[in-house]
Symmetry: C2
Subunit: 333 residues, 2 copies
């Protein structure tokens, strides 16, 4: 049994992605001090990946470091640290990841869902610092959410709370990846925006959007570029998209009552352009008593999960409990 | 400063309704041992109502009782016990209800929102006993919800979490009481069921539903009666209604991830008849990983709020903190 880590100690954050494996040394203030990444050794399975993590941690310099947090894109048992399933990585079911890393690296090791780790990162050191009630929403290929209510991160049965992308918000839509119709993400995630943009480009062949469409497929990036140049077609696409995004934001407010929405994912680059319309939808749809939540772009980009995983590991190690559920972080806002 | 109350002591629960004022003596096990009710002295304002509560508590016998919980159909400041607004009762804004009752009755006094008090009652002594993740949904004139996630009752900013009735689930609907369209409650609360039944009765003049419609307006009660007699029109109405109710239940599962849905309100009498259809909707709409939540009818009827208010008061008084947020109740399920 080692002594608890010092507040001045760094912590290791790991992002176990289906494509990239990243390992970072995170300062007590939640800064990335050093980072390494490798293509995830998918074929090597848990043994291969553990060896990668061990090597990368060694290269970063693990002297004096006593805790590691790992963001996992799947499910696991919170208490034992055993992996229950990672869709992107075959062969991991039942693997005792936390225990194996503890034994190999002589570090405390804590697992967290990758999306929740990112929310915790934004809470610990990013856009949601000091808030007690916020929802972190990622809008990219799909829509995911992680809610902090009354100063606690919601898990729910099986850790499944926050699957807001698959709440039904309309009778009809393009078919969702889940196979159904009317899911919020089928209407308001990145692919829906791209489809809307392609249709607008076809309908307005003189538009800047159409000029961009002639060069390659449209995504949020091109829509934003054309809209910033004042292109009417692009601006109209964004108004239409914001109306659908806003419906889901209003739903989020009604169910979780946050003061703040932190928006991550590729579509968050367009938040500034869509803000007036989003606020209008919130003002229209919110019940009396609600105020439109503040909307902020996620501040930590793609390192939020690394910072969050490290924050969890740190809080567990220093306090024997999870700060991001009970502690100082929950006192602000 | 009095000694904390004994586990064997009874507690007073109060339900401050816009029409009826009820005061009950609740046993430590969460039973109603005695109850009194009066038409609420709306014209008399806070002074009149406090006098009513004082008189009724005296009649119930308040000897040895040290704590009172009051369910309030409006908003209040949780820490100070000052009323912020009660839509059904004019003249209460800014009234220090908890403090006044404490001074007059020499009892600890705690306020709680009436809907949350009912959920806590079901948690303490009713259908949700022992669960850590459940949602209490009332389906009557409107649809309201109160979620317990990870063993904690969700409040959110302003205590507004759980306004699931006004999440948008469709593009179109009858106009909701909130003035908008597509709200879940506009599609799936009691009035929508009644409209659906009236239309079905008109379309099937030979049906039992039509025979009942000839006698008076239809509500869930008549639909249930005809359906239990095997009336095809009524059964069809219930299937249609369950499809819309189930969409909201699936949304609730995706956002809060409960193991249990406790259904209260008038429409809950029809839960048994709608169960197969509701379960089918959940199986169809839930993402992989989710299991359809168990569905139970609320067990405590219209005394859930009294029992819950008393449970809150008891836990505060005995523990100096709220059991229904942190304590034994949170350990089960």
């Amino acid at each position: 049994m080692k002594a608890p880590i010092d507040a001045a100690d760094a912590t290791i954050g790991v992002d176990l992605g289906g494509t990239w494996l990243r390992v970072a040394r995170i300062s007590p203030e939640g800064r990335v001090d050093a980072m390494d990444r490798l293509p995830t050794d998918v074929a090597g399975g848990p043994t291969g990946v553990v060896a990668q993590i061990e090597a990368m941690t060694g290269r970063l310099g693990a002297d004096g470091i006593r805790a590691m947090g790992v963001g996992v894109p799947g499910s696991f048992d919170l208490a034992s640290g055993v992996v229950l399933g990672i869709p992107a990585l075959p062969g991991w079911v039942g693997f005792p990841l936390a225990e194996t890393l503890r034994d190999r690296l002589k570090l405390d090791c804590t697992l967290e869902n990758d999306a929740k780790a990112a929310a915790i990162g934004e809470w610990d050191a990013g856009a949601a610092k000091g808030f007690r009630n916020f929802v972190y929403v990622t809008v990219s290929t799909g829509i995911g959410a992680c809610a902090v209510v009354d100063g606690r991160l919601l898990r729910g049965a099986g850790g499944l709370a926050g699957e807001i992308g698959h709440t039904r918000v309309a009778e009809t839509s393009e078919r969702c990846v889940c196979g159904l119709y009317g899911c919020w993400q089928a209407l308001a995630a990145g692919p829906a925006l791209a489809r809307r943009a392609e249709a607008a480009a076809r309908a307005a062949p003189e538009s800047a959007l159409a000029a961009l469409a002639a060069v390659g497929p449209l995504s949020g990036f091109e829509v934003g570029r054309a809209a910033r140049a004042g292109d009417a077609a692009a601006l109209s696409v964004l108004r239409e998209h914001a109306a659908l995004l806003g419906i889901g934001f209003a739903n989020l407010q009604h169910v979780y009552a946050p003061d703040l929405l932190v928006v991550g994912g590729g579509v968050s680059d367009l938040l500034g352009l869509m803000r007036p319309q989003l606020e209008a939808v919130l003002r229209e749809r919110l019940l009396p008593g609600f105020r439109p939540a503040e909307m902020r772009v996620a501040a930590l980009g793609d390192v939020a999960g690394l910072i969050g995983a490290a924050a969890i590991a740190r809080s567990r190690s220093t306090e024997g409990r999870l700060l991001w559920r009970d502690g100082p972080n929950a006192a602000g806002g």
